[in-house]
Amino acid sequence: MRNYSWIAAILYLLLFTLSITFFQKQHTSISVEDHGHLLPVKMKTIKSSKSEDDLKEIILTANKENEKISNAGMQYSQGGQTLYPNGILLDMKQYNRILDLDTKNKMITVQSGVTWDDIQSYINPYGLALRVSQSQNIFTVGGSLSVNIHGRNITYTSLIETVESFRLLNANGEIINVSREENAELFSLVIGGYGLFGVILDVTLYLTDDELYQIRTATLTSDQYSDYFKEEVLDNEQVQMHLARLSVAPDSFLKEMYTTDYYLADDQTRLSDYSKLKRESFVAIPKFFLGISRLNEQGKNVLWETQTAYNKELDGVYISRNNVMRSESDFMIYEHNQKTEVLQEYFVPVDDFPSYVDDLRELLEKEEINLLNITVRYVKKDEEAMMAYAKEDMFALVLLINQKMTEKDLAHTEKVIQQMVDITLEYNGSYYLPYYHFPTREQLVRAYPRTEEFFAMKDKYDPEHRFLNLFYEEYHK
């Protein structure tokens, strides 16, 4: 039998490789929960349907029985935007058909439960791509509209810019068309309206061509960044997408940065070599490095060194537009029963970035928080959404904070976050609303000057308050 052990080992290796190959190809689905775990809310029931008539019926019945409804997509928002105690959770994930693709005018109509991933898989063979999506593609279109997301794009930045029209199931159970021409007021309210004005049914989005990009990377300091961005990214028509990362490692804390630009490749005929859509590759390695960075300062130094080295390696690499817009996310999924990871996003005017980062550094060197990552992207002034976070051309800084879920730790994080928001507001900046309600109402009003008008509109369009969530509950008065 000893002689057979070699054969067994070789056979096993073969099966092992096969298994890992399939595992990587397989689509991992995301569980249905409030991902922050900070807002455990008991809902009365979860309802969902594939049919427009059923959805209408759900609203009409809720009207009769005076039930509250919270609209939900993937539920990645952390501020209770999809939750309301004892309410009906209207889960839109099954309302997910692709209705029409107009390749000539480059437009697509989809039901709101469709994910970016679904759209990408559908349009990639036609050589088309999304204009705007988050860096990851796991979110639904309806959810993304409700928080008016932005991504790495620099030509179109806020999602609202790429929406042609949508149909809305309102609080009376009526279906109305909403566009820049028809019910225009609702267009600016529903997009970035956190699900408070009705159920988004189907959406028509403008698409663009899939393109071949080449990656250009650079390492610089935070005080060089604004100039770099204006000269090398904004003024360079070839550059289509951009992101940067700010160091949170103790050795280079909020000083060192690296940038990743995606510019149009010279030879677009080679697009077909790169247009196959990427699947999530093996997540163990990034997960491992993120894991050690959670532990201590040393881990953060190791992660930063690895990230900068990896980014340098990317220089010159070719990638299709569709593939840039489907970054990996599984490695970030964090399960811990005492700790959670909260996100914050701050917007500051482009020119103020260096001094803003200096102020943040001064604060964060005093206050202990376990900051794991800061990503920087760009948003243009948004003149359409009533709750527009981009009040002028701004940088958006996304902060990932690891923390314990005890009251003491939450109170500490709240204090630090309120101070960070204050600093942001001093630069006439704003902060993103889908996250946990750490900021005060006063800060909300300063960040979003049209807040009062927004809540007044809620009363106008939904006087019975059929659509409710914890965000509204926290801030409406």
Partner: protein, 183 residues
């Protein structure tokens, strides 16, 4: 095969199965949508084991314990390669049936080896000693994996456990037949 080597072998397979156990339950929980399905998944496991014991018992005397342990090790090594790929309830049901069969192989062989190798006079001490070391290995594996899961994905834990089973398969194939334990 010496008694010591048997303890090493049982320690390793015990470690590998303890590593996956908590996550294995999570997986069943995720895939099954109701308690009834969860119950079925476990019921199938126990039922297959019950039905296979009579056959395994006879086989053990005919082909020898070593062959059955070789089957167990390699069976587990291959089965664990399938776990990360399971996403439908029926996948889990099939895996549970296979797990039931292999689990029975292990349980039965563990006992037959002990029965055949220990001296009657010192059986208590020897079996106590055996359980001490295999339990330490299992405890270390469970605690260690709790930390590992912060860094690794659940998928990779199944793969690690599979590698441990493969190693145990090679290890046991290389052993000669059994020797009595030293008194």
């Amino acid at each position: 095969m010496t008694y010591h080597k048997f303890i090493v072998y049982q320690g390793v397979v015990g470690m590998a199965s303890s590593m996956i156990f908590p996550f294995y339950i999570l997986l069943l929980n995720n895939v099954g949508r109701s308690y009834a399905q969860f119950g079925w998944a476990y019921g199938l496991f126990a039922l297959t084991a019950a039905l296979s014991y009579p056959l395994i018992g006879k086989l053990a005397d005919r082909v020898g314990d070593k062959t059955l342990l070789v089957l167990y090790s390699w069976g587990m090594a291959v089965l664990l390669l399938l776990f990360p790929l399971a996403y439908e309830v029926w996948h889990v049901y099939i895996l549970q049936v296979a797990m039931g069969l292999l689990g029975a192989l292990q349980k039965n062989s563990e006992k037959t080896v002990l029965a055949r190798s220990v001296q009657k006079e010192t059986a208590g001490k020897e079996i106590g000693n055996y359980h001490t070391w295999t339990s330490i290995a299992a405890a270390a594996a469970v605690i260690g994996t709790g930390y590992l899961v912060d860094f690794l994905t659940i998928g990779s834990i199944f793969y690690l456990a599979s590698i441990a089973f493969a190693w145990s398969g090679i290890f046991i194939m290389k052993q000669k037949e059994w020797e009595k334990a030293p008194v």
